[in-house]
């Protein structure tokens, strides 16, 4: 192969080399690229370890090549800072240099400028490592979230246990209070004055309210723990609606509110838990009364739903309505709309949550339409007995 050819290949591949004597002193150099020229031009006469710092402190490695113990030493992707601040990537290879007699007379130090591929490799490595760091960070954050979640679950469980115990412990003394108040009102302990009777009615109302709260809290715990059961059976929902309306009439009348009852004739039987369905209707009626002004009209209807296979109950009021920003949250436990709090209506914010859970458990839907300042209508559906199978 001609020298010109070799020269052309070396230049094209950006390969330079230096030859040393047995003392590792450079005796010849050859380079083409300007970058390598800047680095190698003053090598002649100097020790290899002096001009190539990679060999300083590693002279034993060079000695191994000189002795023939090692046939070659190669270091790839050696970083070299260029005057313009960029990094050159070189591959350094040390080979034995043989004389005409085949004896090792020194070293051949080959320098390959692989900056172009090195830069690509660096960018790839950079992206890969940054991705790994992100993955690691994500993993750590997931672990932290899992731990926080577990803690939240624990606290939630603790809350449910507390609520359940509190609700249960309230029930017995409340039953005593209600029982004895009833006996007093019945005159079992002698005649009452009007004032005594009035006071006892207040106590009775308070005890009833506490009983309702206690029942709601129990229901809440059961819903959250998945232990709320409904016993569905074929039920005349029209008749049930009339009964609930009759129960609530006195309370509504106390506020001069007018209840209109509309029950469609010939309604099919529905498959529901009568007690729990009555609870839902009662809850909706109670809300309508609470959030409507005195003298307002309330309409309770039972009829076939637009959706085939369902009977629909609706309760329409002329109350404060639900502001648009509150509407997405009205079925959240303990949520109370701002205007409801402002008008001073009592309540725990559990009624609608429980009502919707109960309807859902019975295979139906509960929803509402509302215009702030004009009133709301709540709808509940229950499956027809035959259709529910």
């Amino acid at each position: 192969m001609s020298d010109h050819l070799v020269q052309a290949i070396l230049c094209d591949r950006r390969i330079a080399y230096a030859i040393t004597d047995r003392q590792c002193k450079v005796i010849a150099v050859h380079y083409c690229s300007p970058a390598l020229q800047i680095w190698m031009q003053d090598w002649i006469g100097r020790a290899l370890a002096e001009v190539v710092p990679e060999w300083l402190g590693s002279e034993s490695v060079l000695a191994d090549v000189l002795s023939g113990a090692t046939s070659r030493v190669r270091l790839s992707r050696v970083n070299r800072e260029l005057p313009d601040g960029r990094t050159a990537y070189l591959t350094l290879t040390v080979l034995p240099h043989l004389d005409d007699a085949g004896q090792i007379s020194g070293l051949i130090h080959v320098v390959e400028d692989e900056t172009a591929i090195g830069e690509i490799e660096q960018r790839l490595t950079q992206q890969r490592n940054e991705l790994r760091l992100l993955q690691e960070e994500l993993r750590q954050k997931n672990l932290a979230l899992e731990a926080a979640n577990a803690e939240l679950r624990r606290l939630d469980q603790l809350k449910s246990t507390f609520v359940s115990i509190a609700a249960h412990e309230l029930r017995t003394p409340l039953a005593s209070i209600s029982g004895y108040v009833e006996m007093l009102l019945d005159g079992d302990a002698g005649p009452l004055t009007d004032l005594q009777r009035e006071y006892l009615r207040i106590v009775e109302g308070g005890a009833r309210r506490l009983t309702r709260i206690s029942r709601d809290l129990s229901d809440l715990t059961r819903i959250e723990t998945g232990r709320l059961e409904v016993r569905r059976q074929p039920t005349d929902l029209g008749r049930l609606t009339e009964m609930v309306a009759a129960e609530h009439c006195p309370q509504l009348e106390e506020r001069d509110q007018r209840l209109t009852l509309r029950v469609a004739s010939g309604l099919p039987l529905t498959l529901c838990d009568p007690e729990r369905a009555a609870q839902v209707i009662g809850n909706l009626l109670s809300n309508a009364g609470k959030y409507s002004p005195p003298g307002a009209a309330i309409t309770l209807s039972a009829g076939l739903a637009a959706e085939a296979g369902f009977v629909q109950i609706s309760v329409a009021d002329e109350g404060v309505g639900i502001a648009e920003e509150d509407q997405p949250y009205v079925f959240d436990p303990f949520y109370r709309a701002r205007n409801v709090v402002e008008v001073g209506a009592s309540g725990t914010g559990l009624g609608l949550y429980i009502a919707r859970s109960l309807v859902k458990l019975q295979g139906g839907r509960l929803w509402f339409v509302s215009t702030p300042g004009k009133g709301s209508t709540f709808f509940a559906t229950f499956p027809v007995a035959a259709a529910a199978g």
Binding site: L56, G57, S58, L75, S76, E121, T125, Q126, N129, E130
Partner: protein
């Protein structure tokens, strides 16, 4: 004054701060940006140490080796002739401490007498630490190496860690 040159390596997982430690030690510089090293970057730093009655002028040849997994297969060839190493872990990443025994074993396989110093880096990121000093101390003890909580950012213990390795390799 005796003059010596010793090759020492920086070993550890990617992004633990090996390059930053060298930059801090050699040039008193720090850059927050992370730039992955591929291959090896050799820097030189002269330090003067006492050895018995003499003083030693030690030229530390610092081999900053790539920490990426892709480099694992060829790393051994870069370790030949090393008198010691700084094993670097990142106090904010637990796995980086777990990796140190493998680096130590690789180095000692090639250079059985090599000395080690553990640098638990990023000491400045106090709120983000996931490793305790006790964990670092235990791992360092297992490797029979002194350890330092370092910060390439503030410079804390960087000089001390390299000097300690210098003392060990000239002893």
């Amino acid at each position: 004054m005796i003059s010596l040159s010793k090759k020492v390596c920086l070993l550890g997982d990617f992004a633990v701060g090996k390059t930053s430690l060298v930059r801090r030690f050699v040039y008193s510089l720090f850059d927050d940006r992370y730039l992955s090293t591929i291959g090896v970057r050799v820097s030189r730093k002269m330090i003067v140490l006492p050895r018995g009655q003499d003083m030693v002028e030690l030229s530390l040849m610092l081999w900053d080796l790539a920490g990426s997994e892709e480099f694992n297969t060829v790393r051994t060839s870069y370790l030949r002739g090393a008198a010691g190493a700084i094993l670097v872990c990142d106090l904010t990443r637990t796995t980086t401490l777990d990796s140190l025994p493998a680096y130590a074993a690789e180095l000692r396989q090639v250079n059985p007498g090599a000395w080690l110093v553990v640098a638990a880096n990023k000491g400045d990121l106090v709120g983000e630490h996931r490793l305790t000093e006790a964990q670092v101390a235990q791992r360092a003890a297992e490797l029979a190496a002194p350890y330092f909580i370092t910060s390439a950012k503030t410079g804390a213990n960087v000089e001390v860690a390299f000097h300690r390795l210098g003392e060990l390799v000239v002893a």
